[in-house]
């Protein structure tokens, strides 16, 4: 699996205190649309367009929907049609430059995994057009009990994909210029204070971990297809699909035609869908090829750790912890993986004996 290129511990940076950071947001807002984390309800966060920089939350555990909502919207019109005239109009996808501020490393990796999906085979212009003209500015975070991206090779300070990276320090941020675009932004903003020697700072520990090194996971998945772990998970899973919908690398969709009240005009729309849902693998004749929750859960995990990985060379889980955090049945993906590892190790041992 890829070795990440940038190591910020060897890079010089600038310092912005908390107020200057908000000034920087204002500066960004003056240039283009800016999207950043906001509070939603009592205990949740979402990405949203910045209208007042004061509403931006800099430190947050994770948002409900991942960043994919901007490139693969939860609901999108593919085309509009007129039944009487039997013709359709293409839907315009206009993108203007967009800056995504306050993005965590795993989230950025999630976007890059999704890129793979929409680029390989027959590239899809809806997604790729929306992906154009996007600038990402990263930020560090405190991992909670659900994050485990480090176990998958994604450090808090992994900066691939970002133009700038904000690393939290006492009363402000160290700002790293990752690419030329980032450099340009900082130059124009002009209020950063140069920090002359590279700063080294310990990354906080992740409490949620996978037992084995991520390089070994595809190999584990070679051997656990018939593990009893799947049945154990299925006893508790209620098949709600939350884990699919909120996963930054899940992209399955459904397409439906809906007509207006005049029964003449209408739209062909696509919606996020998920392989955990009962009707997902149904075919004509009411046969369902993944009727059991155990086979659905297995399919979901195999798509994260094996099926796509075999082709792309990368794991398609980025360790954001959304599937576990939002699962109403408290099913934890790291527990599943660690149980699979135990099961595998057990069986290996029995074979040796």
């Amino acid at each position: 699996m890829n070795q990440k290129l940038n190591n910020i511990n060897e890079m010089k940076c600038q310092f912005l205190d908390e107020n200057a950071t908000y000034d920087f947001l204002k500066f960004l807002k003056g240039r283009s649309k800016v999207f950043a984390p906001h509070r939603k309800g009592e205990a949740s966060y979402i990405y949203d367009e910045v209208s007042d920089v004061k509403d931006v939350v800099l430190q947050y555990p994770r948002t409900i929907q991942p960043l994919k909502k901007y490139f693969l919207p939860p609901r999108e019109t593919l085309l509009s049609f007129n039944i009487d005239e039997n013709n359709f109009t293409e839907s315009e996808i206009n993108v203007e430059p967009r800056i995504f501020f306050g993005i965590h490393a795993y989230e950025m990796e999630g976007v890059m995994r999704l890129d793979y999906t929409f680029e390989q085979g027959q590239p899809e212009s809806n997604y790729l057009t929306r992906r154009e003209q996007s600038t990402f500015i990263g930020i560090s975070y405190e991992p909670d009990e659900y994050h485990f991206s480090k176990s998958l090779g994604i450090d808090i300070d992994s900066v691939d994909g970002f133009s700038l990276y904000f690393k939290k320090t006492d009363n402000g941020y160290y700002v790293y210029e990752i690419d030329a675009a980032g450099q340009q932004l900082m130059k124009e903003f002009g209020k950063g204070k140069r920090v002359d020697i590279p700063v080294t700072k310990e990354e906080p520990e992740f409490t949620n971990k996978i037992k084995y090194h991520y390089n070994r996971l595809p190999q584990i998945f070679e051997h656990v297809y018939d593990s009893k772990v799947w049945e154990e998970v299925a006893e508790r899973c209620v098949g709600c699909g939350t884990c699919n919908l909120l996963c930054p690398t899940c992209y399955c969709f459904d397409v439906r035609d809906e007509v207006e009240i005049n029964a003449t005009e209408g739209k062909r729309e696509r919606f996020w869908d998920g392989c955990m849902l009962n009707p997902f693998a149904e075919v004509a004749g009411n046969e369902n090829f993944r009727e059991k929750l155990s086979s659905r859960t297995r399919h979901r995990l195999y798509r994260k750790f094996k099926y796509i990985t075999n082709k792309s060379g990368e794991l398609h889980c980025v360790g954001c912890g959304r599937c576990s955090k939002y699962c109403p049945a408290d099913i934890s993906i790291t527990k599943i993986i660690n149980n699979l590892i135990d099961d595998y190790a057990d069986r290996q041992q029995k074979q040796v004996i």
Partner: protein, 279 residues
Amino acid sequence: MENVVYEKKDLYYPVMSDILSVETLTAMEKRFQIAMPENQPLNHKPGQFVEVSLFGFGEAPISICSSPTRSPNFELTVRATGRLTDKMHMLEAGSRLGIRGPFGHGFDVDVFKGKDVLFVAGGIGLAPLKSLIDYTLDKREDFNKVKIIYGTKNPAEILFPKAIEEWRQKDDVEFDMTVDRADKSWKGNVGVITTIIPPLQLDVENTVVAVCGPPVMYRFVLMALKAKRIPDDNIYISLERRMKCGVGKCGHCQINDVYVCQDGPVFHYPHVKSLEEAI
């Protein structure tokens, strides 16, 4: 990101095409002859499919049942089972529908060349196979023996009786069929399709088999072929799954790590044999 090339024209826009003729085959099936704009050829391979779309009624994958050897136009055989297909049955010659495709991985005809070919078709599975059968017959000299076996629920559901009559007449084609339940007019075999496999005289090493039928059929046909000692390596099957895009994105047709719309619908049997969710 920067170096990916993609066409602005979206994958999901259908090409509006004309229905040239509609033929009622059975109570449930109709055959449509379709022309792409300006009679452009579809350039398909036997076994491939198109996404048919009718606005307000959605899209569905339908196999191309005519051989690319026959004309620039192509044919679809459609069973009325739901939203799109019911509406399609109400269309007449002169109507237009949307076509995307051809999609998928058809039959690799080169593998069949010089070999004995056995076609096993169940129910509407004859439609996708017909494109390959016609192709084989049009290039007859490329192939060795040709055998077709076909099973339907009852005599009223027999597709393409005219073509069947032709196959029966031909000296260089062996044809046999059976029905699950006979009626008074029926004089042929009665029983499921696996009952007419054992009597076949096959050069097992040198026979390539193409199978297509309803999901339930595969397990039994494959058992019967195994009993005849046909190597798995010589078997090709065409699978069906729900699809929402046809281009490997929507995820619906995925069987373990294969996509039916991209890696199939025609699969080399050893490729899917070990996939638990396939058959």
